[in-house]
């Protein structure tokens, strides 16, 4: 494990050399004294906690944001990147953490946008796309609308966009957060191919095992600055995590089962018709008191619909939903919540929060009909503030107060607030969809602990996650969902992520 290592002198200059990069936002130092060298023909991983400054750094390298200090060299020449256009001209391409695609455009339109000079917007462009798609095995159909594509395909479109512009340096910001193992493998195969062609790949991920498996070099970012550059052979994931956090991590406690015989949630024959096929097809299962049921599946196979059907947010759903013996089949979302369901939604910005409202109002959200925050139809502001304060303390939400707008919190802290809120009022069932997506390892551990504690006290949990390690680590039982059907049940203590992965993609394999 070396200190921030200067580039080894070799015959050619590194593809990217960052020196002394600094970036301040009002009141926040996002980056300072960042030094990184990325060699040609390597995969270079960047890791760090939420808010460590990784994305900011990449945006600087891609010209989205201007650095306050420091220099950027591409292939040994100092450059100034005023806009993404400049960066593209210098052969840099970036796949953002959140996809940058226009849903209502075709793949072709998304790809040629901004690069129309290369091959126009017609037949020549289509031919070039097909050429690249074949050359890299990306399997792209240029005339599909992006909104009809799955996550994996979108990811490939993003990569094609970069290749189309002839990028020599490719930045991938958390590309694997939403992919299943097979898709991750495919992606990594693509990356290795690019590497073999002499391209440099910069790769950000919170999944340290992946990082260790694919990267040639790893740079650790902590509180805005590079603290170490290591080779994957020198470290294991635990050491890497400790480098990120700057201190030792607590060992996750292993637990004995708390599953009881009492059924909390019983789902029978759940169906949901879609445009051309059933989105949910005869789904049925039980969750007992103290049990965590994990649902594994490739995104878009009905998980979101399942959650929303159980929450009563889908109007066309038929089938029976019983909570602690009470029939909720015809109940509204509100009645289901009142009956004791807590809900951590998949998309916290869209479903979990009022971003432009203060934290205490976000505490009321979803609990509008329950004390202490609402009494006799009136919002009790004092009680709401007090209870928000309780959550802040119990769940370690980093915020200066309860009157701050939710938007001002970082993603991890927003998530902790949501979990804390959904746990208040002592729910008997928690539906948690991707509760730790994009959350760093420290905060992740905190959220898991809270779920474990509640389970011990009798909470039943329906856990949906794309993170198979999380599923395996937390669940008492795992069901696999494929095209709206439950296709297999696994014991987490027996199953490997790979086994789960193949079950998730079905016998035919391709997703």
């Amino acid at each position: 494990m070396s200190e921030t290592a200067p580039a080894q002198a070799s015959e050619h200059a590194p593809a990217v050399r960052l020196r002394g990069i600094g970036k301040r936002f009002p009141g926040v130092i996002a980056n300072h004294d960042v030094d990184i060298d990325v060699e040609q023909g390597t995969i270079h991983a960047v890791v760090g906690e939420n808010g460590a400054g990784k994305s900011t750094l990449m945006k600087i390298l891609y010209g989205v944001q201007a650095p306050d200090s420091g220099t950027i060299e591409i292939d040994g020449r100092a450059v100034s990147l005023g806009s993404p256009a400049d960066a593209i001209d210098h052969g840099i391409g970036m796949v953002f953490q959140h996809f940058m695609l226009a849903d209502n455009f075709t793949v072709l339109e998304n790809v040629v946008l901004g690069a129309e000079k290369l091959h126009g917007i017609g037949a020549a462009a289509r031919a070039e796309i097909m050429r690249l798609s074949d050359a890299y095995g990306l399997d792209i159909e240029p005339d599909r609308l992006v909104e009809d594509l799955g996550v994996g395909a979108r990811q490939r479109v993003e990569i094609l966009k970069v290749l189309y512009r002839g990028a020599r340096v490719i930045i991938l910001d958390e590309p694997t957060a939403v992919l299943v193992p097979q898709e991750v493998d495919e992606l990594f195969a693509n990356l290795r191919e690019l590497k073999a062609e002499g391209l440099a790949v910069i790769f950000i991920s919170h999944k340290l095992d992946e990082v260790l498996s694919v990267a040639d070099t790893i740079t650790v970012v902590r509180r805005g600055t590079t603290v170490a550059t290591v080779s994957p052979d020198e470290v294991d994931s635990r050491q890497l995590a400790e480098l990120m956090v700057g201190s030792e991590l607590p060992t996750p406690s292993t637990e004995s089962s708390t599953v009881t015989d009492t059924v909390t949630l019983s789902v029978r024959g759940l169906r949901l018709p879609g445009e051309s096929r059933l989105l949910l097809d005869d789904v049925g299962f039980d969750i007992h008191r103290g049990e965590v049921l994990g649902i594994a599946g490739v995104e878009g196979n009905g998980q979101a619909e399942l959650v929303e059907a159980i929450m009563g947010m889908r109007s066309g759903a038929t089938g029976k939903v019983e909570l602690a013996g009470r029939d909720l089949t015809r109940a509204s979302t509100r009645e289901r919540r009142e009956a004791g369901i807590g809900y951590v939604p998949e998309d916290r910005h869209r479903h979990g929060l009022l971003l432009d409202s203060p934290l205490w109002e976000n505490r009321v959200l979803g609990h509008q009909s329950r004390e202490p925050v609402v009494r006799r139809g009136l919002v009790d502001r004092r009680a709401a503030r007090e209870d928000t304060q309780r959550i802040i303390e119990q769940y370690d939400v980093r915020t200066p107060g309860t009157d701050v707008l939710a938007r001002a919190l970082s993603g991890g802290n927003q998530q902790k607030l949501i979990v804390g809120r959904e746990m208040s009022g002592d729910p008997i069932l928690l539906i948690a969809a991707h509760p730790t997506r994009g959350v760093d390892v420290g905060a992740q551990a905190g959220i898991w602990d809270h779920i474990r504690d509640a389970r011990r006290a009798g909470l039943a949990v329906l856990l949906i996650s794309a993170d198979l390690d999380e599923l395996i680590g937390l669940s008492d039982r795992i069901e696999v969902i494929l095209r709206g059907r439950l296709v297999g049940s696994f014991d987490p203590s027996q199953v490997t992520p790979e086994q789960l992965g193949s079950a998730m993609t079905g016998a035919g394999g391709a997703a």
């Binding site: 936002f25 009141g27 926040v28 929450m311 979302t333 009321v364 609402v374 919002v379």
Partner: protein, 373 residues
């Protein structure tokens, strides 16, 4: 600024925006006058004179009406619904109220109550059409309410002609006059004033208070605002968004139903072909100006009423077209939001600084612990 307490900062920031805007509007209007060669001093001298008592009464009266219109629009805005149809709603409602009150089925005050209820129902029903279309068929409420405005005009004209009575010698038609006992008496301000202030002003204030209380204090109001802030989050929290859409339109329409009533009960006593129109559109500007806040809307309504009243005499006394004031009003709306935006960005930055500052201290404390350990 960062030295002030957050609450005080908020107040100072909140006040600086409108002041900035008024100055900008003043400057731009003056510029227009100068370019056009009109007497700048004369115009401002006339507009900014202290209004006479009866003008004050007029301003209050006009503001009452504008205020109700602003409230009606604002209810929609709080839920991200753009009710551009207050004009049609109050037209339908005022007509219905005038007919009901004019018939005098109930004596005295009971008649007033009945007519007000009828007006609110009519306004709500008219707006409800747009609400139902939006909730059940996904029709943009913007289009629906625009269309309903035109339709209201045609329908009311038709029915007005059916029920109209015409005073001898007059060329206007109107509904039957409201009986003496069922009018809402005004009150005098100052002495010798020839114009009374509408008694309805108290009802308008009450409506403002109800608006504030319901939206900011009750669970229902919370749900309405939450739906406006994020439909998807509202659904997930158990709010029935379709029902909320219809309810919000109904409430907006019911408030719109009140818009014509101060005039009806305090002044005109009948609905006729010269009944004031266009109040709904003024309400949009006023709601936006007042940022959907009941006090803000009151200030906006007073400002607009003040400008309208003071400009009325411009032509007679200074020889300048009072249309210049419309420019001022529009410019105020625009500059207010621009300066709010500028101030807001500044405020966000302050807020971020505060958050970051607090976090940095935490970090430092943590670092210190680390080094001690």
């Amino acid at each position: 600024m960062s030295g002030l307490s957050p609450r005080l900062t908020k107040v100072v920031l909140g006040l600086s925006a409108p002041v900035l805007a008024l100055f900008a509007a003043f400057a731009i209007t003056s510029l227009v006058l100068v370019v056009a060669g009109d007497p700048v001093g004369g115009v401002w001298g006339e507009i900014l004179t202290v209004p006479a008592t009866r003008n004050v009464a007029n301003i209050l009266n006009n503001a009452t009406v504008l205020y109700l219109s602003g409230l009606a629009v604002a209810v929609g805005f709080r839920m991200n619904l753009f009710n551009i149809g207050v004009d049609g709603q109050y037209r339908v409602a005022a007509f219905v109220a005038a007919v009901v009150a004019g018939e005098g089925w109930l004596p005295g005050a009971a008649n007033i109550v009945l007519a007000i209820a009828a007006a609110m129902l009519a306004g709500a029903a008219w707006a409800g059409i747009a609400g139902v279309l939006r909730a059940s068929r996904g029709v943009s409420e913007v289009i629906a309410t625009i269309m309903l405005n035109f339709i209201a005009t045609g329908l009311v004209a038709f029915f007005l002609r059916k029920v109209a009575v015409r005073e001898a010698g007059s060329n206007t038609i109107g509904t039957k006059e409201i009986p003496e006992g069922s009018r809402i008496p005004g009150f005098e301000i100052g002495d010798g004033a020839t114009t009374e202030v509408y008694g309805f002003i108290f009802l308008a204030a009450l409506a403002g208070f109800a608006y504030w209380f319901v939206l900011n204090r009750t669970r229902f109001g919370f749900e309405l605002r939450a739906t406006g802030a994020s439909t998807s989050a509202a659904v997930a929290s158990g709010i029935n968004v379709k029902r909320m859409t219809i309810t919000a339109m109904l409430i907006s329409g019911a408030l719109a139903g009140l818009v014509g009533l101060p005039i009806l009960f305090g002044d005109a006593y009948a609905y006729g072909s010269t009944f004031q129109s266009g109040l709904g559109f003024a309400g949009i500007a006023i709601a936006l100006l007042g940022r959907n806040n009941p006090i803000g809307i009151a200030v906006g309504a007073l400002l607009f009423a003040f400008l309208d009243e003071q400009s009325n005499a411009l032509q007679i006394l200074v020889g300048v077209s009072p249309d210049i004031v419309a420019i001022t009003q529009g410019v105020i709306v625009l500059t207010v939001v621009i300066s709010y935006e500028v101030v807001r960005r500044y405020g966000v930055r302050l807020e971020q600084q505060r958050v970051a500052g607090a976090l940095e201290q935490e970090h430092r404390a943590a670092d210190e612990q680390e080094t001690h350990a």
